[in-house]
Amino acid sequence: MTEKRIGVYVCNCGTNIANVVDCDAVAEAAADLPGVVVSRSYKYMCSNPGQEMITQDIRDEQLERVVVAACSPRMHEPTFRRAAETAGLNPYLVQMANIREQCSWVHDAGEMATEKAKDLVRAAVYRVTRHESLERLSVDMCPHTLVLGGGIAGMSAALELADAGKRVYLVERTKALGGNVARVDLTAPYLDSARDMMTDRVTRVIEHPDVSVMLESELEKLEGFVGNFKATISHHSSGEGPPIEVVDVGSVIVCTGYKEFDASRVTHFGYGKLPDVITSFEFEGMLKQGRIEMKDGRLPQYVAIVHCVGSRSEEFHGYCSRVCCMTALKYAHEVKSALPRTYVSDVYVDMHAFGKGCEDFYRRSAEVKTLFLMYGKGDHPVVRRADPGDDCEMLITVDEQLSGEQIELPADLIILMVGMEAREDSEQVTHLVNISQDKDGWFIESHPKLDPVATTTDGVYIAGACQAPKDIPDSVAQARAAAARILGKISRGKLEIDAMFAAVNEDLCSGCRVCNEICPYSAIEFDAETKRSHVISALCKACGACVATCPSAAIEAKHFTDEQIFAEIAGVLA
């Protein structure tokens, strides 16, 4: 195998690497490796000058291969590939050695760390020598989108895309659009009408020529890949239309939302046992009906609102459900408005009034004389029946933190602010659209800060409360963000697919079809004529399972060939 002209670039990452690894020594060592014609150490390879250094060398030194020893390839591989590309070098002829996350940041300064860095660089050099130029595939981008869930997030996303003239299939499991927001009367902190917003959205969605609303429907199967999905949707509604429908879509937005925490799982509030202990959603019902009453029809003299039911607790959910505090304050206002002579108390842990206008709202509810009692995180108030002679129905015992007293709070009506939790069908969704869940069941975004709406599966996005608890504005923003991603792709018409995929060498293929079975994406077809298998590149996700399985070593994983990996092994151990 002929020797290639290789450039090695060792990044100091400011002091992140240089403090632990002797970068200059690494660069010098690399200089002596076969084929290496340039070897440099620099403060920030990722910076513009760093990248220019590389592109300059590629041109001046006619480099055929580039090795960058820096941070994790998950961080900057795209950056350096782009740099190589600008200098006319095929991006796949660049290899990174991860000497930061997996070396300088995890080892103490000294010989060992520097030696390890040298080994990793050597491995990269051996490997890159055996790299081949690869071409990205470009496939068509279907301009249609599948939106799962007809709540506020789903409808916002749908309208965003449809207004751009792109077809949307909006699949909703229930009989009606609206989701959880439709169960709400007013929204915090300005007490705007949720009903008006819903009417507006639902009307526009239903009347929009580019939105196909599919009620009482479910996604059964999602095949294909970004830009070219086939979605199988089943309609449960008895009546018009076929029970099963298959639509072509380029992208999928998952907006399946949340379900409220089941208050009966908590014993010490007496929910289900005491008639006048109700959940926030039950109270919304009362508000809509204009009847804030006790079960026996009397008006409550004392209303108590208990925060963090099922949230911020070790027993149930560790996380904060983000919207309950403001909703609770909203209830305080609403009770005071409907029943001016009623006393309202909020039993809370920390008042999460962080949103725009929320702190003002909090102050305002204090001004209308709401009594706030604070209990400790990890502790919980206890509800019991009041004794005969008390002027209330129930008593809430709280270890009140701000006074250090153990307080008995009178209550006639108790509202439990139930938190949000992942829907029980969300695991099923993850398998359908191939995304993952965190330990709480929320869908995982591809990056919490840089890509809060994308997922690890191209073309599948998440928006709204299915990613984590969220209020309406944040859900709408996410929904639009997802729409933006998709519009971006659509407006470019075509999509580039990574060139890393498997390929069958049909001369070696014995047609045993083991690979057909093994491929999780059924990307390998068996050709009855030639008695050989072949890979549908666009479907291949490059896991390489088939490569390792093929008894006759007939399959090659591009960019992860046996030869390349053997070279890498030899490199780290040489």
């Binding site: 014993t267 010490h268 007496g270 046992k273 005491l274 004392y302 006393y343 108390s345 008042m351 909090y362 102050r363 204090a366 001004e367 004389k369 709401t370 009594l371 706030f372 009692l373 604070m374 206890v382 509800v383 019991r384 029946r385 008593l395 015992t397 270890d399 009140e400 701000l402 006074s403 250090g404 007293e405 153990q406 307080i407 008995e408 709070l409 009178p410």
Partner: protein, 389 residues
């Protein structure tokens, strides 16, 4: 044992001036900036918390409100305009009405009409009483001498009787204050020794109000002290030197000079206070309860009529002097009879007493803590098992 919250109490307190306390979200800033707040008396936040939750007994048992001189630092820095200073003030009013077993104080604080009405009534009765008495004694045209309209000896006797009655009220209320704050607290290991050891605080704080000087701005302290000293001087003159005061027409400098100084002090101080309250010049003057106005105005007019009557007497206009004297007395009597035990005046007595008791209690607490138990920290009995339904 859990304490029952009473969301209704705040409504009872509002007439006393506690209108903003519910705004407090307990950042703790006030207690930390207060120059008087120190272990074991951390306020204003803690009393405000008790008030928000309506823990009446806790509040009644508190000396903290009396340890506050209302310099206004807390209110100025409050992030939510919860007016901690004014809340302390309101609590003092409320406590005064709680100490008072007759219930009169409560009426006065809850409605200025009651207070004003009572003052007018007592004034009229006094006027009538003294006029009739005067007629029975001598002639209106004679101020002193054998035919005097109101012989100072008899007025003196009246003064002493009145003083006696007021003392009974004041002392019985003070006794209730002691009972609420100290007597009831069984777990408090107070000793007679500590009561005696701290006794010196009563006169000291009464006469110097030295704690007040810890405020950043000294002005209010000086004025307040001047007013109080003038008042006391006047009280002493009347209780012990009334005859010399009334004698004349020649000016007897040995006593009158004190009288002039006291009068000047009273007039200037009250005018200054009235001006500040009118202009709402700083935090402690921003909110004025009706009782504040009544008290100041009353003192002012008493001083003015007093000095007027004095001048008239010196200038030989006996009849006019006598009439003015009647007016003066009919203002003095309600001022003493109503303000001293039932209204704002009483803080003159309660505050030094509170500081004294606070000292005794603090000594007791430190002893208790040394012994491991801590009655000051209600936390002591927290975490008692509560049984779910």
């Amino acid at each position: 044992m859990a304490t029952r919250a009473n969301p209704k109490l705040i409504e009872e307190l509002e007439p006393y001036g506690a209108e903003d306390v519910m705004k407090c979200y307990h950042c703790g800033n006030c207690s930390a900036v207060c120059p008087f707040s120190a272990d074991p008396y951390v306020f204003p936040r803690k009393p405000m918390r008790y008030l928000q939750m309506g823990l009446e007994d806790k509040l009644k048992g508190q000396l903290d409100p009396w340890l506050c001189y209302y310099c206004g630092e807390c209110s100025d820095q409050c992030p939510r305009d919860a007016e901690p200073g004014e809340t302390m003030m309101s609590l003092r009013r409320w406590l005064t009405s709680k100490y008072d077993w007759t219930g009169i104080s409560r009426l006065f604080y809850q409605s200025w009409r009651w207070e004003l009405g009572a003052i007018v009534l007592v004034a009229i009765l006094t006027a009538i009483g003294f006029t009739l008495f005067g007629m029975s004694q001598g002639s209106l045209s004679a101020y002193d001498g054998p035919n005097a309209f109101l012989p100072s000896e008899s007025v003196h006797v009246f003064d002493w009787v009145l003083a006696g009655v007021l003392m009974v009220f004041l002392l019985s209320n003070a006794a209730r204050m002691w009972w609420f704050t100290m007597g009831r607290a069984k777990d408090l290991p107070t000793t007679l020794g500590s009561y005696i050891a701290s006794l010196w605080m009563l006169p000291t704080h009464f006469f110097t109000q030295i704690r007040y000087s810890k405020c950043e701005h000294k002005g209010p302290w000086v004025t307040h002290l001047a007013l109080m000293l003038s008042y006391v001087t006047m009280l002493v003159l009347i209780m012990f030197f009334l005859t010399d005061m009334a004698s004349g027409p020649a000016i007897d400098w040995s006593v009158h000079v004190a009288g002039y100084l006291a009068t000047a002090g009273l007039v200037l101080a009250t005018i200054l206070f009235l001006r500040n309250r009118a202009k709402k010049s700083s935090a402690q003057y921003r909110h004025s309860h009706e009782s504040d106005w009544i008290f100041l105005v009353l003192i002012l007019v008493v001083a003015l009529t007093g000095i007027l009557q004095h001048i008239l007497h010196r200038s030989g206009l006996d009849a006019a002097a006598n009439i003015t004297y009647i007016v003066h007395l009919s203002l003095v009597v309600p001022m003493l009879a109503l303000e001293v035990p039932f209204s704002k005046w009483s803080h003159l007595a309660y505050r030094p007493l509170a500081m004294y008791l606070a000292q005794v209690r603090a000594t007791a607490l430190s002893r208790a803590r040394a012994g491991g138990v801590d009655p000051a920290r209600p936390g002591a009995e927290r975490h008692t098992q509560v049984h779910p339904i």
